[in-house]
Symmetry: C2
Amino acid sequence: MDAPSRRVEVKRAAERANYDRAVIDAILDEALICHVGIITAEGHPVVIPTIHARDGDTVYMHGSPASRLLRTMNPGAEICLTVTLLDGIVVARSAFHHSMNYRSVVVIGTARIVDDPAEKLAALELVTDHVVPGRWAQCRPVTEKEIKGTLVTALSLDEASAKIRTGGPIDDEEDYELPIWAGVIPLELTPGARVPDDRILDGVDMPPNVATYSRG
Amino acid sequence: MDAPSRRVEVKRAAERANYDRAVIDAILDEALICHVGIITAEGHPVVIPTIHARDGDTVYMHGSPASRLLRTMNPGAEICLTVTLLDGIVVARSAFHHSMNYRSVVVIGTARIVDDPAEKLAALELVTDHVVPGRWAQCRPVTEKEIKGTLVTALSLDEASAKIRTGGPIDDEEDYELPIWAGVIPLELTPGARVPDDRILDGVDMPPNVATYSRG
């Protein structure tokens, strides 16, 4: 499959490229946060972490990058949204062949401020449920004031690419004779013991989506 | 403590800002990867994940962003390096007050290509040991060709800031009367069962830095 545009084409280690939307979507959906790169009015790049959620061909971004975008961005200016899932450390026999196993996605496009109240409400539900599936329905309903006080931006997935490395180290052939351990240290983002708020009312149990939370 | 420059000053949720270099350094040192934002020759931003390591007031970056920088960047162009450590999901009684616990650092400055062979060698050792402490000394020595074939860039920490959120949800006062669970799901990047390479020589054991690997 070809890259959707030259600027999201993976040039380095091109064998790791993947332009399949199903693959791209799965990475975006698993990643808890993204890093959004913008160009400020002063002309330098800024990269800000935020939460996101995908709806079909659109990625919605929540909050602060949007506010910075609004303050500094020229209308129509392009942004880059990148997500990276770290899957492991590849330990090779030479320092040179050390690597990471990862799945990353890069999206380039023009961000749009979401003004339509219905689209904005739907995006906030998506972002909330992206972080904790099923959480939106458990919450106190959102107010008009809260919707107005939150900034949401949208980015099309028209120009997106994935880059993926999997598997063990690939050493130089002569290095396999060396008495050096090699392999992979898998990495996973895992939840720890839940910390209940001090002021939960008596008789309110932890919901299953929190109790059994996992990612990926 | 004041921000070192206006452009790395934390504007939103300013109470989460931290400009203490010891705090900034600890976040950079714990983070396995960073996201580097550059402006391409075509004038749009690109954000690329890579590995890094800090040496005093300098952050070194490895590999592919450097190559993209070299291809597309004007000499003297500024970049932004951001790292984000995800510490937890803050589950509130309202969707609006959901949040993440995190520690992030933003560094803005002009990247420098590391040409000096001694500095480059030292940077490669730092980056290797940043990912797996003590690994450099366990590896087959690096060759001249490998050093030449690797790109390393350096960024000063003169303009850096941290932003940190910790603790539980902060709900609207009236929402504490609602029968809704709230609290924190802590998150941690944890290593899984090591996957030894198929071709490790007989009698070669897993070294302790791999066997007991942990982050943070």
